[in-house]
Symmetry: C2
Subunit: 250 residues, 2 copies
């Protein structure tokens, strides 16, 4: 096959043409057997053009992650105190899903390729880790000063990424059939219910109820008493948050 016969009629931007040429060759010859020279020959451009867009052959497999990471960082940086932090990181994770769902055929093709090539799996792991760190960094800021703030930030970031990937992978394994958004929403919803502040998470599962004895408060302010009723298995931080909300008289 000549490179001219493969040239796309619609003349997409050069970057897209390089990605298309690369994936065509990966599927025909295999990833390891395809060189950057093969890719530029098929795309009809020079080597320098390739490296202007992609630092390495691996990067052409994941052409949108850098943009997506930048979008996620900007999204989190634009957060305010009005955003419930766990919900916010779940919404940030949805940006990744959106990138995959924009082009289902490409995403499925890449998923199959990545599973076959250990080097690409390693690359993907490092990308996933960068998303996780971006989420954790934001949460550490929001939880600063709270007991076990960094621990909670790290655990929630990892849980959000695991849930997102669980939903994403089930969609990819179904060859991009079905509703990617619904699968990921369901998975993230579970994490949100587990970790988010009950006041912001809706009525799903209140983990702790805090009851103020208003009668005693009125009668004897000096001995103002709180009675807190909680499930014994409720996470401590969640109980503490409820206590904070009630004890905070400001």
């Amino acid at each position: 096959m000549s490179s001219s016969s493969a040239a796309p009629a619609a003349k997409p931007p050069m970057r897209d043409a390089l990605v298309a040429a690369a994936f065509r060759l990966f599927s025909e010859r295999g990833y390891e057997q395809t060189t950057v020279d093969d890719i530029v020959a098929l795309a009809g451009v020079g080597r320098r053009s390739f490296f202007r867009y992609f630092p390495s052959k691996e990067d052409v497999v994941f052409p949108d992650h850098e943009r997506c990471l930048a979008d996620m960082t900007a999204f989190l940086a634009a957060s305010g105190p009005e955003h419930e932090p766990v919900r916010r990181v779940c919404d940030a994770a949805r940006l990744v899903l959106q990138m995959y769902a924009e082009n289902p055929a490409f995403s499925v093709q890449r998923y199959r390729l990545t599973r076959k090539v250990p080097g690409l799996r390693a690359y993907e792991l490092s990308v996933v880790r960068r998303y996780e760190r971006a989420l954790a960094r934001y949460l550490r800021g929001r939880f600063a000063g709270l007991p076990d703030g960094t621990l909670r930030a790290d655990v929630i970031a990892a849980a959000v990424v695991a849930a997102h990937n669980n939903g994403l992978r089930s969609w990819l394994r179904s060859d991009g059939q079905g509703d990617a958004g619904a699968a990921v929403d369901h998975a993230l919803g579970c994490v949100q219910r587990e970790f988010a502040h009950p006041r912001d998470a809706g009525p799903a599962r209140p983990a702790a109820r805090v009851t103020a004895l208003t009668g005693e408060q009125a009668a004897s302010p000096a001995d103002d008493v709180l009675v807190l009723v909680t499930r014994r298995d409720a996470p401590l931080w969640r109980v503490v948050r409820e206590l904070e909300a009630v004890l905070d008289r400001a």
Copy 2:
């Protein structure tokens, strides 16, 4: 320096000698500047001996992970229905901590090296992912047939790994001072309280001013309830400490 002057007096097994020679050179010359030939020359063995123990130069940096992964897999495979699954994966994660804590000086040295060399960080990420998958695989088995079983398994495995690494890294950053076990136990304890099934979590330790309604416990173990009575003007930290004492079932 000649290789003979560096030969250890106690004549440790060849594998250990290779690791010692490698780390000596990594710290003197840098990781990238050290070749396998340099390592075998210093250790006084042939190249074939190196590759008998280590597939690559990267593997000599992490000489114990394969054994630890095998130990973890065996530990999880030896589990029975009597083991509460979340506690079990926390205990499995402690095997990794144990490996690090066995040799603090080596672990700290490697931590510093890994932070400087991107290729080693990528290697470590893939190792961590293998631990996470081993935990998730076990949990998927235990949660089979439960609603969202695989999702829950993936999320808990990720949370356990994140908590373990949070505790481990704070110990490594302190140059291996302090109690590694305590840091990791605390972190894993938080995850366990978050996810473990209350019926399997064992009896509580009642503390002053916190009363467990034993009647309700007996009637409905799944909804084990705590009632905490406190003055409204009590400092939050004191209330939290009381709560911690009661909620901590370790």
